[in-house]
Symmetry: C2
Subunit: 242 residues, 2 copies
Amino acid sequence: MSTTLRPAGETRAGDVLARMRSDIISCALKPGTKLRFETLKELYEVSFSTLREALSRLVAEGLVVAEGQRGFLVAPVSLFDLNDLTDVRVLIERQCIRLAIDRGDDRWEADIMANFHRMDRLQSRLGASYYLSDDWAALHGAFHFSLVVACGSPNLLEIRQKLFERAHRYRRMSSQFRPQWRAKDVEHKMIMDRVIARDTATAQDLVERHIRETTENVIAHASHLFAQGGDSFGRRDPVAAE
Amino acid sequence: MSTTLRPAGETRAGDVLARMRSDIISCALKPGTKLRFETLKELYEVSFSTLREALSRLVAEGLVVAEGQRGFLVAPVSLFDLNDLTDVRVLIERQCIRLAIDRGDDRWEADIMANFHRMDRLQSRLGASYYLSDDWAALHGAFHFSLVVACGSPNLLEIRQKLFERAHRYRRMSSQFRPQWRAKDVEHKMIMDRVIARDTATAQDLVERHIRETTENVIAHASHLFAQGGDSFGRRDPVAAE
DNA sequence: AGGTTTGATTATTTCGAAAATCCGCAGTAA
DNA sequence: TTACTGCGGATTTTCGAAATAATCAAACCT
């Protein structure tokens, strides 16, 4: 499971939260799985209350759903959710990019290049199967984050981060079946170039295409996974007020 | 405090969650307040673990912040946060309106009119101080929700709802100092008319103005409250990655 | 035979005590 | 005086058992 071995720093519940989040995103805990307390207690070596706290927070992040008095389960995946998620991500990411280009300074530009370089180097070191690596995924996430960090909006960044993580779960679902990923590195370089050139419109369009094409790839390679669950696939009730 | 007395239906933690959320939004629990467990245990008549679960969820909703191993406190307010919140709300709400107008059907239109009517009637019944009423606030929330419910995006609606609640806290902060609110009902009617007429551009602009003017009113009447806390006011560190 | 109620089993939810951690203060040394 | 260190009290965090609710199946009634 998760290889995070940092007992210090924060609370134990916070540690379990981070590990569970990682395990859900990486699909070590599969979508739709019932989360039984006894099982989890063994897996993460903590007690009921601590688990409950971690689960509660994951519910609010949308990675776990709570069913009345019938426990928790890993948030199911569906074609509908993936498409909806993609549309919302495009909206948020375009705004982030726009603001970041408006407000970013030299230090921001340098940070982007540094992050790209690290991602790029690891990519060539890992070869064709880089997309399976959790380390690469972390650097990939850091690169995309560095592009928008200068937007200056904590709220926007927080929303973006949660959506990014949920989307990562879908990417991860499909990656184990995908023989080879397309040349994302070229796209990343183009996005970086347009962002640093402060070419807002083009940068936004490139990022939107980047997101949408990834979603299309996921659907092409992993859509058969959505049907297996039985429930929660296809169109959801659109009047799902909270 | 909260007058919600429905012990049945959901779990006790869910009940406490709802009551605390209500109390924070209505400023019965003031921004920046330290949330001591002993105090809360008396207030809500539950035990540590149950409180902890409710608090954890509120953290993820942005209404409470957790400080390492030093407990929880009601999320502080600040001019910076209010402005940021407003900008993000405008982005989200404009998109919701656009999609709802695209996708809404007759039933949706009827629902909007019904909600407006209920809000409008209560408003005239309450007279000049309607903005102090929690009941009116609930109907006001329901009206705005009905405008966008047809957007068909669960993710968008969920984000919108959380932002709306956080904004409501700011509205509430200022309402106790505001001698009289401007004629919001006229604005609401105009928004409804343009939405039902499927006049997307105008409806979006009206909603944006509605949100921004409310924020300006809050700042005009309650900005002095932001300074009292001492910390967390004015510009925040823009590189506040999570 | 089909459907419903009852009761045993399993899982979740809640509780309050015990362990771990933090904060303030006094005492000491530089 | 200022900075560092160790103790006492208060608060948070964690734990596992007890209470509560849901599930499943067998027996019962229609």
